[in-house]
């Protein structure tokens, strides 16, 4: 029941998370920041703009990104296979990349290619993390993980650290906001979207927050309060990291993921499975 509610109201809850994040970010820079409902004001305002379209496939892929993102979150929270949720997230990002590559703007194409670099970096780790959950709890099903006695995080400390350091890649935060890169690519894949079509990407991003933090929540097993504290701690840590670091090169990101994070997570899984 809670799962269904979460899925239906995912854009609204995600909007609140995003609004809260903007306030936290502003406070970290000693500013006051926008009101909590600011993402919804933006949403309604974008609704009122004249719809400009590059071509229909581009617009469709923007909407496709939103729908697959929502679907991935639904699959994740409604108690299906974790792996399928991960692969639906891949479809969402692929839709974004196809849309970005289908226009002539060099910023958009470059952003799409960089988005693929993001995928190369974090997708193996997501799959490894799901396998790690399987090794610990004996199930790919979220229901069984949420009823698992004990703390998966105690058995998977390295996987947890690797996943926390992957979140900046997933959510386009500094130091790994390489595809979005507001100063050099001005949004990357989202640069050519406007008005109601940009709204789809904007809302998809809110759902991605929920998608990512659900995985963080799973690390506490059936101890929901510990899980909530984990989520809040990771949320604050990610924002602190976002505010205090500069953007890196995409090669550094791929190297960091493949040379450090993935071996770290794999080592943990291998040691556990022995």
């Amino acid at each position: 029941m809670i799962g269904i509610l979460f899925t239906i109201f995912a854009p609204i809850i995600g909007g609140f998370v995003y609004g809260f994040e903007r306030i936290i970010k502003a406070r970290m820079q000693s500013r006051v920041g926008p009101p909590l409902l600011q993402p919804f004001y933006d949403f309604f305002k974008l609704m009122d703009k004249r719809a400009l379209m590059i071509h229909s496939l581009h617009a469709l892929m923007g909407i496709m990104y939103f729908i697959s993102e929502w679907f991935a979150f639904g699959v994740l929270i409604l108690g299906h296979d974790l792996l399928i949720a991960v692969f639906f997230h891949v479809i969402a990002v692929l839709a974004l990349v196809i849309g970005a590559s289908s226009v002539r703007s060099p910023y958009s194409v470059l952003g799409g290619l960089r988005e693929l670099m993001h995928m190369i970096s974090y997708e193996p780790l997501m799959v490894l993390m799901v396998i790690a959950f399987y090794v610990v709890t004996g199930s790919f099903n979220i229901e069984n993980i949420l009823h698992f006695d004990g703390y998966p995080i105690l058995q998977l400390p390295l996987v947890f650290i690797a996943f926390v350091l992957t979140i900046p890649m997933l959510l386009q935060k500094s130091p790994f906001d390489i595809a979005e890169a507001h100063q050099e690519l001005i949004g990357g894949p989202e640069i050519e979207y406007s008005g109601p079509f940009y709204e789809a990407l904007y809302t998809g991003k809110w759902i991605e927050y929920l998608y990512v933090f659900t995985f963080v929540f799973l690390f506490a097993g059936s101890h929901y309060i510990v899980g909530a504290f984990l989520v809040i701690g990771v949320f604050l840590f990610i924002n602190l990291l976002d505010n205090s670091t500069a953007r890196l090169d995409f090669r550094r990101m791929v190297k960091f993921a493949w040379a450090l994070l993935i071996p770290m997570a794999a080592l943990n899984v291998i040691l556990l499975a022995l």
Partner: protein
Amino acid sequence: MGFFSKFRKKSPWILHYNTGGCNGCDIEILAALGPKYDIERFGMLNRGNPKQSDILLVTGPVTKHCKDVLRRLYLEMPEPKVVVAMGACAHGGGIFRDFYHVENGVDNIIPVDVWIPGCAPRVEAVIDGMVEAVEIWQQKTKEKEYMRNHNEVIHKLGVEDDG
């Protein structure tokens, strides 16, 4: 004026473009974004992307090189949109007036809705101008807006059929 028009004043997104000024105005704009004045309180963001922006904030006297870029930025912004000219240069060339390389202000290229006087304007003046721009923005509709000499420009480029 529909249901959604009420939310316009809550989130004006700014596109800032310098057309060859001395950067004094731009520093004031950055100061407005900083901790002391923090215009993000009012939902204003410096987007840097014409397709997602609502207010075009222009500084500088519009050099001949910038002319086409400015025109293009204006046409790329989806309606409803507002143009704000900031600083003495943008009003009519300022210190650069009648030089060989300037177009004597923003109004010679695109229609301007709000003028912010000063050289450079204080941050309070910028915020005041933004508030006025938002008021004008709320009156506007989704209808397509063009430059004053749009037909002439289109004719010169020979692209009448693209419309």
